[in-house]
Symmetry: C2
Subunit: 252 residues, 2 copies
Amino acid sequence: MAKGKFDSVSDPVSPLPRYLEIQRDLQARIASGQWVPGSRVPAEHELQAQYHCSRMTVNKALSALAKAGLIIRRRRSGSFVAMPRSQETILNIQDIKAEILAKGKVYRFEILTRQERAMTTDDALQLRVTPGGRVLALSVRHFANEHPFVVEDRLMNLAIVPAAREEPFLVSPPGTWLLDVVPWTNAEHVIQAELADQRIATLLGIPKKSACLAIERRTWQGDATITWVRLTYPGDRHQLTSHFRPGGPLIP
Amino acid sequence: MAKGKFDSVSDPVSPLPRYLEIQRDLQARIASGQWVPGSRVPAEHELQAQYHCSRMTVNKALSALAKAGLIIRRRRSGSFVAMPRSQETILNIQDIKAEILAKGKVYRFEILTRQERAMTTDDALQLRVTPGGRVLALSVRHFANEHPFVVEDRLMNLAIVPAAREEPFLVSPPGTWLLDVVPWTNAEHVIQAELADQRIATLLGIPKKSACLAIERRTWQGDATITWVRLTYPGDRHQLTSHFRPGGPLIP
DNA sequence: CTGATTAATTTGTCTATACATAATAGTCAA
DNA sequence: TTGACTATTATGTATAGACAAATTAATCAG
């Protein structure tokens, strides 16, 4: 009897979809340790009977759990609770403007230097491309509540982003502008600790040789590097924070 | 006619499931810029006609794209290509043992100090719990190819992990042991740059006041803090790297 | 006992249909 | 013109059934 969704609903109000109910229920059993890693999850037809729903609904819940890495599924064998995963985390490296505004602080930036030039060997190395073409080199200082927040050194590949040549960066800083204008397909981050040199110390208003957090980012569009950027934060004032729960993106 | 899956297959071999084919096709159109952000994605019944399949199959593809954040779906309005997202990244902070072994280096660790004690005020602060109960405080030094790699300072909440009291940590270091034994539901990371004090400098074999990368992690099981750990790496030798593509977990 | 074949089981994918839900567009009366 | 009601449309959820694919279990010939 292929009727509506409320065939088997005793509860008059159902705020949560059936498949999510099942998903969370199973997740709770795994998280609580009731189902230990390696143990077998009931087969779809068993759960179908338990939850009194169709196999597709159970399948949707189980597939989501599998995608989240909480269970491993194999044909004929069945589904099993996944082994504890290595400690991974999802880090949110936000756009600087958004980051400062999110903290409820006043945002401002200034372009320190701006130079359009033929790509040097160093530029090519940092962009990881074969030399040739032109780049736009920028230095930017970002302020939060008028306090120096981070220094940005950026190279933009004008072969990919020719529009940058004409852009004065009056409203949005280069990073935010790029995000709005150019679609990117790939990014790489490198996070490092290092000592402030004279320039950084002056720009950030911190003592020379104090600890800094440096984040380098390369952004690609297909095979072509769009931009390389290095963000230098005062180490004692800035920190990257992230929260994570296993099977994280499960509960939206 | 509810027949098999090959009702409408002209291609004799179909290595990829239909819904993935559709998903990737749509994703390619978005990535290539053919469909610009904000533009409308054809409705399910249109795609159903285009790809000559059922609406459920199209729905599966579109739902996945929506979950990955590539499109936004609204009832009655339709589906739209999402606006460029803020630069987020997924960072892999691995288990130390796994991290070193992954680099093909020889792993070794030594317990520097070990103390079981009643929870001090500082301990409670760092574990973010109300004082009371006992903790196990550990200092560990990890080596990669016999070179000091990282110093670990850890507090373990014995109320949650009583088994740690009896554990000698001969085979696995505390972090790896915990991952194997205790299920966790939540974690928080804080990444900071700071200067090496005398102790860290000595333990890591680096000059005092050189830059260090400090990663602090709190791990919870429900509301209870399991452990707090601080990992101090030499800043010039260690770096966190991560790759990311928008709509990342799409292509498994 | 071994190796190949066959059966059974479980997940993976797909279809066709049905009704729910949300939001827009249109209609009509005050 | 405004506000309430109604129709329309697109997505969201759910069902029952079907066949595919993979892998384990059982069977049987040698």
